[in-house]
């Protein structure tokens, strides 16, 4: 409801010619989605979290550029920041990142033509995360097929740039703001993630996983295993799947 209408040139318009102009149409499309604002808030929070967990600004920016997945970055920063080992962090990150696999699998067929070589899809694949996945499904049908790689790269570059700015801003603000406002920035992360995950959870199994995951973590944390997030996540996810499986059979 809050989404602005995106108006692209007609599919046969000369504005799509070449590589540069579809790229810049993609960059500009960043301004036409409310999700950009949500991402901005999330990355403000990630920048602040990185600061408060003792990481350098360069480290935080490198994580935004190369990891480019909010949940993975938060898991990484909070696991390492609370004394978790590299192996624990890597396992938690990779479990959270499995969801990128089906996203890439569903986005790339929209981006490519029959002739597109795989190396030209490497960058679009790197840009795939939940926001890109949603926006590509919405925007790509309005883009001529031969121009979609350039357009997707433009959209991805635009979103990453916005998030690099937000990471820097969050980091600097956390260092310089009064305590209350710095706390408000840190609270952006759980709020933005909770609501965007809730909105993406259309099916019962996903909603159940969200609720069970929230509820199981505090219980699991009492066991002090060091891998609480992993255990509660796998247990809650499997439980939710079990309910889904049982309901389908019944």
């Amino acid at each position: 409801m809050l989404r602005a209408l995106t108006v692209f040139p007609a599919l046969d318009s000369p504005k799509w010619q070449g590589v540069a102009s579809p790229y810049f149409i993609g960059v500009k499309a960043v301004g036409s989605t409310i999700l950009t604002l949500v991402l901005f808030a999330t990355y403000l929070g990630i920048g602040a979290l990185a600061h408060d967990s003792g990481f350098s600004l360069g480290w935080a920016l490198a994580s935004t550029l190369f990891v480019w997945a909010g949940p993975a970055q938060i898991i990484l920063i909070s696991t390492l920041g609370t004394g978790g080992t590299v192996v624990q962090a890597a396992i938690a990150v990779t479990l959270s990142a499995i969801r990128l696999f089906p996203m890439v699998v569903s986005v790339l067929p929209m981006v490519r033509t029959r002739e597109t070589p795989m190396r030209k899809l490497a960058l679009p694949a790197h840009f795939v995360a939940v926001t890109m996945w949603i926006e590509c499904s919405r925007m790509l049908p309005q883009v001529p097929r031969e121009r979609r790689v350039a357009f997707t790269n433009g959209l991805g570059t635009g979103l990453v740039s916005v998030c690099l700015v937000a990471t820097t801003l969050g980091y600097v603000l956390a260092a310089n703001l009064p305590e209350l406002l710095a706390a408000a920035i840190l609270l952006l992360t759980p709020l933005a993630f909770l609501f965007s995950t809730a909105r993406n959870s259309r099916q019962l199994v996903d909603r159940l996983a969200l609720v069970l995951g929230l509820a199981l973590f505090p219980l699991m944390a009492m066991l002090h295993t060091g891998v609480d997030i992993l255990l509660s996540g796998v247990a809650a996810g499997t439980l939710a799947y079990g309910v889904h499986w049982w309901r389908r059979r019944a």
């Binding site: 949500v38 898991i75 499995i98 696999f101 089906p102 609270l187 709020l191 969200l210 973590f217 939710a240």
Partner: protein, 114 residues
């Protein structure tokens, strides 16, 4: 410049614990994506587990708050999230409304209770 980068050891950890375990799934999607059925039962489980892990991280930040977020009393943090969620539902799932309401309640609660 050294304070911008910090120590190189931390960047190595970023590569090993953050970048590689995350990017591997994009690469696998790129290379082997063609043959996977999007609606397969395995992917339903994967999505549920990924959602639950993310939920655990959200809970961790709220229950064991990092940095200055710990200066906000427990009840104010939980109340802020609950109020934000009510606003999110009441506005037919506007993320922005939920976030703004949660933040407002946190600021008001902290100001009230000290």
């Amino acid at each position: 410049m050294s304070s911008f980068i910090g120590d190189w050891h931390a960047l190595l950890i970023l590569l090993l614990a953050g970048i590689l375990p995350n990017e591997i799934w994009r690469v696998l999607g790129l290379v082997f994506g063609g043959g996977i059925d999007e609606g397969s039962e395995l992917l339903v489980w994967v999505r549920a587990t990924a959602t639950a892990i993310l939920a655990g991280v959200i809970a961790q930040i709220l229950v064991f708050p990092p940095g200055v977020l710990a200066s906000i009393p427990d009840l104010v943090r939980y109340g802020a999230v609950a109020a934000g969620f009510v606003a999110f539902i009441a506005t037919r799932q506007s993320i922005l409304a939920g976030v703004l309401c949660g933040e407002a309640v946190m600021l008001a609660g902290k100001w009230w209770l000290g």
